[in-house]
Structures are given as C-alpha cells and as structure tokens.
C-alpha cells in the first residue's frame, strides 16, 4: 500500500491545491500513471502512482488546499476491483459475436460498450515493460504531455495555440484567463468568455467612428455617448497571486504599495477646459477632466478597477471614482458614480455638489462608499508631485500634481508646455508594475488627446 501526499516543490511551498483527480476511488492505477494534478505557487504538475494498485479513498477534494506532507489518497492492492472488470469486457466481446455473424458492414453495429474501457481492462501484450518510462501509458493522453515548466519569475499556464493567438490579437493577458481544458489548459472558449467579460472598446473610439460634423453652438453633451455597461466578475486567486499577496504584504504592511509617476502634457487639455467652460457657461476644473479620463482608462484595465480579497480578485462591473476632499475635520472621499458614463460637465456638477456636502458633513453613506478607484489632487496647493495612500478596498489611487508651464524638449527644441505629474500608487497584490504602467499609458491618451473625453 502506498500513500499519496502533497509534495514539497520548493522551499517557500507550505501548501498546494488539488486541481483535479484523473482517477476515481476504486479505479485501478499503474505505476507511473498520473493520478491527480496539483497546483503550487510556481507550477501545475501531475502526481503519479508509485505502484500498481487501486486508488482507495480520496481525502482531499478537487479545488481544495492541502498542506505539504498532507495525505491525499491511498493506493491499495484491491485485487477484486481489477479482476471484476475482465468478465465485463469478455461479455461485451461475446455480445458482438452473436450480434454480428460476419457481414461486411457489421462494423456499424458495434455494441454500446465503451471500447476504450473494454480494451484497457484487457491485456496489452505488445507493450514492453518500462517501469521508469516517462511515456504516459494510455494511448492518446497527449493532454498531460505538455508538462508545465516554471518560467523565470512566474508560472507557465497551459494554453492552446489558438487561445494564445486570440489573446494576443485581443490584447488580453493569457495568464489572467482561467483554463477549462484538461489540466487547466486555456482554450479558445475561455478566451472568448474573458473577452466578453472584458470592457468593450471605450466610448470615445466607437463614437468617433460615427463622426458627424460637430453641432456648432451650445451643447457639448449632444455628441456624448454613454459607455456600455460592464459586469461584476470574481476571479479566483491563483496560487501565484496568493503568494504575491502574502509575501508583499509581509514586507510592507497590509497593502504592498508601489508608485509610478507619469508626466503628462496638458497644454491641449487646459485650452479645451477654457473653451468648454465658456460653452457650458460654468466653470470646469482640470480635475473634472481627470476624473473622466481615469474612469475611461479603467475600462481598458479591469484589474485596476478591482479589489483584493483572500479568495479572489473582485473585478468591479462599475466604475466609481472617489475624490479626496479635505474638510476641516479631515479627509473624505465622496464618490462620482459611474464616472465612465458621465460627461465632463456632469462630473463637474457631481463633484461640486459632493464637495459641498462633504464640507457641510451632509454626505450620505452611498455618497462616500463604494469607490473603485480614488483620485487625490493637491494641484491647487501648488504641489508638483506626491504619493498617495491607497484607499481600501481600491487597488490604486492617483495623486495629481499641479498643472504648470515647464520647459520641455520636443523635436530637439526647448519649448514651454503645460505639464502635470500623476503618481499612481498600486496595490501589488493585484496590480503588477507593467499593468500600472499600461494604465498610465492609456490615461496619457485621454489626457493628452482630450477630445477623446468629450466625444
């Protein structure tokens, strides 16, 4: 009798997850045959039977964590179960003989018996004994042959070539998709599901496609097209993401922060702000544009519009931007709801009324709760650049510095442009450096080409 236990695959490994059992209790197994797949923080791998026998009880269900060294199942002698299959196969064969007295086309009448099972119960005379062979014993079990190899600095996920190509073309991260194929292989249908859950192309693009001459005159909102609704989605934590969260928290506190600073050219935005303010007849602030820009950029990067929990990463189906407002009593963060679906003018009106209520302590809970990202702007105080602390359960906050004329080099000429620095604080449990940088890059498109914000 042999015990199957959770192996220790690395110094940092304390537990592993049972992904799937290839065998059921009572199934016979051969030495070297894969019995189950486990997931560690680095790699998915198959555990093989160490001896021939019958899989007895399974003590850890699929999807469940087990500590290193923990008991997963037993392999026992179980002669009876293996022997009982033989008569069944023989019977099936007899049935065929009676049913098909040798006509040419009797192939079609093959009985119901699952042929694969019938065969696996029989002998395999031509198979040479190769106990140490790495070859999988069952024919056609290609699924397990592409054993995952840990890449430097991350796990490698199994995926079909088509799924990888589709992800590449759609600009999706293949490792953010949960695979439904054998051994967790990511297949085309998984990418399709991910695609339909991911944000639709942002409104500015679709709106600019149907371009009509701008209505001369009053209402900039006339052309405004609200973005399509998103969906709530819960993405279970992978072992790798769990480890990142744990380790980085241990090193820097509950939320492992890191900071990315981008320097944006806001010359066009400032000019647009002045023009639109005149057209709308009310004052618009730079911050109102930034709120909309940040909200639209979030639609491109669902993992920034997210929250971290111990079990899963919650991707929010709506974009609610918290605005840090200082009051005599301290900081409040009223929330502009569905900021991605509101025009700049609507956002301006919202912010004005919320800030007013905040200062008078009249905010209701639903007006200061539920943000999915927060913006803190100290530009009015002349702060050029600063870092902000993330407002949980957000995974990012933008610290906006003052927009001011500065000398910059464009086309090898020193020119004076209005510039503004934005520092993004990211929760490393969810947002990795490259993702934060991608977000800031998307934000740049909205801020430096601000017509995207009003179309």
């Amino acid at each position: 009798m042999a015990e199957i236990i959770m192996p220790k695959m690395g110094d940092a490994m304390t537990e592993g997850k049972v992904i799937r059992w290839y065998k059921k209790a009572g199934d016979s197994v051969k030495k070297g045959e894969p019995v189950l797949e486990i997931e560690t923080d680095k790699v998915n791998l198959d555990l093989e039977a160490e001896e021939d026998g019958v899989l007895e009880e399974i003590t850890v269900a699929e999807g469940t964590m087990a500590p290193v060294g923990g008991h997963l199942a037993n392999i026992g002698p179980g002669g009876s179960a293996a022997a009982s299959k033989k008569p069944a196969a023989a019977k099936a064969a007899e049935k065929k003989e009676v049913a098909d007295p040798g006509k040419e086309d009797d192939r079609k009448k093959t009985p119901e018996t699952e042929p694969v099972e019938a065969r696996s119960a029989g002998e395999k005379p031509s198979e040479p004994a190769a106990p140490e062979s790495k070859e999988k014993p069952s024919a056609g079990e290609e699924a397990t042959s592409d054993q995952s190899v840990p890449d430097e600095g991350g796990e490698r996920r199994r995926s079909s070539p088509l799924a990888r190509r589709m992800a590449r073309e759609l600009g999706l991260r293949i490792d953010s998709v949960q695979g439904s194929g054998p051994s967790g292989r990511i297949v085309a249908s998984d990418v399709k599901r991910m695609q339909s859950a991911a944000p639709a192309p942002a409104a500015p693009q679709s709106a600019s496609g149907s371009s009509q001459p701008a209505p001369a005159g009053r209402k900039p909102e006339a052309r405004f097209v609200a973005a399509a609704p998103l969906e709530d989605q819960k993405v279970p934590l992978t072992a790798m993401r769990r480890t990142i969260a744990k380790r980085l928290s241990e090193s820097t506190g509950p939320i492992p922060h890191f900071y990315l600073t981008a320097d944006y050219d806001v010359t066009t935005l400032l000019a647009l702000r002045d023009q639109l303010g005149e057209i709308a007849g009310s004052k618009l602030s730079v911050n109102d544009f930034i709120v909309r820009a940040a909200a639209l950029a979030l639609r491109h990067h669902p993992y920034v519009n997210a929250s971290f929990t111990e079990e899963a990463i919650q991707l929010h189906g709506q974009v609610h931007i918290g605005i840090a407002v200082s009051t005599p009593d301290g900081l409040l963060t009223p929330v502009v709801r569905n900021a991605d679906q509101k025009s700049v003018a609507e956002i301006a009106a919202d912010v004005r009324s919320l800030a007013e209520k905040a200062r008078n302590r009249k905010l209701k809970p639903d007006e200061y709760q539920g943000s999915t990202m927060t913006i803190s702007n100290l530009g009015a105080w002349g702060i050029e650049e600063f870092t902000a602390i993330i407002n949980p359960p957000n995974v990012a906050i933008l610290a906006i510095g003052a927009a001011a004329p500065r000398t910059v080099v464009i086309d090898r000429q020193v020119v004076i442009r209005d510039r503004m620095k934005v520092t993004m604080s990211c929760d490393h449990r969810v947002v990795d450096g490259a993702l934060g940088a991608e977000y800031l890059k998307t934000l740049r498109q909205y801020i430096e080409q601000p017509l995207r914000l009003v179309l």
Binding site: D100, E104, E114, P115, V116, S160, P161, L162, R165
Partner: protein, 330 residues
C-alpha cells in the same frame, strides 16, 4: 449515373483502359481462368485473351520484376496482388527498381506500372493478410500511393494511374468491394492524383481519413449532426503520395480541431504524418492537440470478435471528437 460496386468499378476501369490502349495488360495469380480471388477480373481472360490477361506462378518478385521490364520497354502492365500483403515478397523490385529506374536513368526511362490489390482488415483474413501498407509505400520517393474510399474514386484514380508514367501502388480496401455508389462512364470518370476532397462540410471539427475509415468517419459525422448538432467536416485524402494537405489546412483554419482516422497501427502511420503536418503549418489555429484514431497495436486476430475490437470503430471516433472539442462524455 449508374450505381456500381467498388469491385465492378475497378474492373470497369481496367477494361476501359485495355479497350482504349493495347499496351495495357494485367498479370497476377489466379486472375485468368479462376477470374480472381475477389472476382475483380471476372470475364477479362475471355475478352482479352491470355496475352493480356496473364496467369502467373506464385512468384511475386518475378511478377513485379517482369512487369518493371515490360513497363521500361513501353507496355503498361497492371499487377494484381491477391492481397497487397504478398507484395512484400516483391519489395526489392518495387522499392529499389520500379521506384528508382527513372532516377537512375537520368529521366530517360519511365516505369508506368500499377500494382493493385486489397489490403486492410474486416474480412477475417488474419494477421498476415489484413495489414495496411500505405505508410510503408508512401515513405518512398518515386512511388505514388492511392487509397480510394468510393467506387467512383476507385475507378477514376485507377484509370488515371494506368495512363500515368509512374509506378503506382493502388490500395483497395477488401472490406469495401461490395460498397455501391454512383460511377461515371469513360473519360468523365477520371480523377486526378494528389487531390484531397472535402466529402462532407462542417464547421466544428475536421476528420481526416481515407479508404474505409473515410466511410466510417462519414457515418459518424452524420450521426453527430443528427444527435448532437455537431457538424464535422470530413476530408478524404484519396492519395497518400503525393499528399494534398491544403484542404486539411483550410478546414483546420475553420474548425480549429482535427481528428485523423486510420486503420493501420498508430506508430509511424499516416495519421502521424498528417498530425505533424497540421502542427507545423497551422499551429496557431489549433485549439486542441490533433487526435489520432488507429488500429490496436497487435497482429490482426482471426476471431471475428477480436478483429472487430482491433480496428477503429465509431465510438472511438466519437470519443476523439469529444476530446478535441473539450466535451465530456455526454
């Protein structure tokens, strides 16, 4: 169009070509007076006489060697093997002579020779007489290898083979001799060599097969469409060498998954070549590894029940389709 059996279509192809071209002749064991073990040559001795329908001794190497000489000197011999299994006795004549004479002669001498006969299992001929040789012969440059799966292709490919300049291995399926289908007459019957054909259109999965396994795959595809709404595209290779893969690639670009079915053993079989070519050429289109359905890795049993278990059957094709479509046992 008249319906004919696969057997009659082969005879008709030979007789039409013998009528058309006096240099065409046939030789083999028991093909004249006895009219052929599978009655392919029935009536031919009476019609063409013993100079063009030649009963030979049981000496395959001698038959093929004689035929190679005839072909080099301008005749168009057809050699019937009682089963293709017997041609391995003549393997040196086929592989080292027929396949290489043009090359060795610097292109001066052709060998317009057809070696034909039944192969494969399904008629209880046991281990020595039920083998499949397509990958064996298709391995060698200098040969052409055909494996028709319908009466029309049997006739059309054989007529083209007889008219060609190359040595051709024409593999008939013993289990298909009784299969009926529409068969065109005369020149209309000609089928070019080296052209695969989509025999059933579908969008969900590609099944690649030839000969008898193509017929079986078609039956599976029809059943799948009726019962599960899965539309399988079935491609009949018809010719193994030259191998026309383009229709297969086109189909995989559409379905993203492929199952290859062959009667012969799995190791180094035609399905391995096809699966590898798919991976090489349309790798990025694949959503699942190419699946193979093949015969069992045993010498063919004589017992009817065991023979049935040893060659691929419909349930195995269904199982492979479910696997490449990531569908459980539904």
């Amino acid at each position: 169009m008249p319906e004919k059996t696969y057997r009659d279509a082969i005879r008709e192809a030979m007789m039409e070509e013998m009528d058309r071209d006096p240099t065409v002749l046939i030789m083999g064991e028991d093909i004249g007076i006895y009219e052929g073990t599978f009655r392919i040559t029935a009536g031919m001795l009476k019609k063409y006489g013993s100079k063009r329908v030649i009963d030979t001794p049981i000496a395959e190497a001698g038959m093929v060697g004689t035929a190679v000489g005839m072909a080099m000197l301008g005749l168009r011999p057809i050699v019937e093997m009682m089963t293709i299994n017997f041609a391995i006795v003549a393997a040196d004549q086929i592989l080292n002579h027929a396949a290489k004479v043009r090359y060795f002669s610097g292109g001066q001498v052709d060998v317009p020779l057809v070696i034909r006969g039944p192969q494969g299992a399904g008629v209880q001929l046991s281990a020595q007489h039920s083998q499949s040789f397509e990958s064996f012969y298709a391995h060698f440059p200098g040969l052409k290898v055909l494996a028709p799966g319908t009466p029309a292709d049997a006739k059309g490919l054989l007529k083209t083979a007889i008219r060609g300049k190359d040595p051709v291995i024409f593999l008939e399926s013993a289990a298909l001799y009784g299969l009926k289908g529409e068969v065109p007459d005369g020149e209309e019957a000609l089928v070019p060599l080296g052209q695969s054909r989509v025999v059933r259109e579908g969008k969900d999965v590609t099944i690649v097969a030839y000969s008898r396994m193509m017929q079986m795959s078609l039956a599976v595809a029809d059943k799948l469409a009726a019962e599960k709404g899965i539309e399988a595209e079935v491609i009949d290779l018809r010719t193994l060498r030259p191998l026309d893969m383009e229709p297969v690639y086109q189909s995989v670009r559409k379905t993203h998954r492929a199952v290859v079915v062959q009667e012969q053993w799995k190791l180094f079989g035609a399905a391995a070549e096809i699966a590898a070519a798919i991976s090489e050429t349309v790798f990025d289109e694949l959503d699942a590894p190419v699946a193979r359905v093949t015969g069992e890795d045993v010498p063919m049993p004589y017992a009817r029940n065991l023979e049935l278990l040893a060659v691929p059957h419909e349930e195995q094709v269904l199982h492979a389709i479910r696997k490449v479509m990531y569908r459980g046992e539904d």
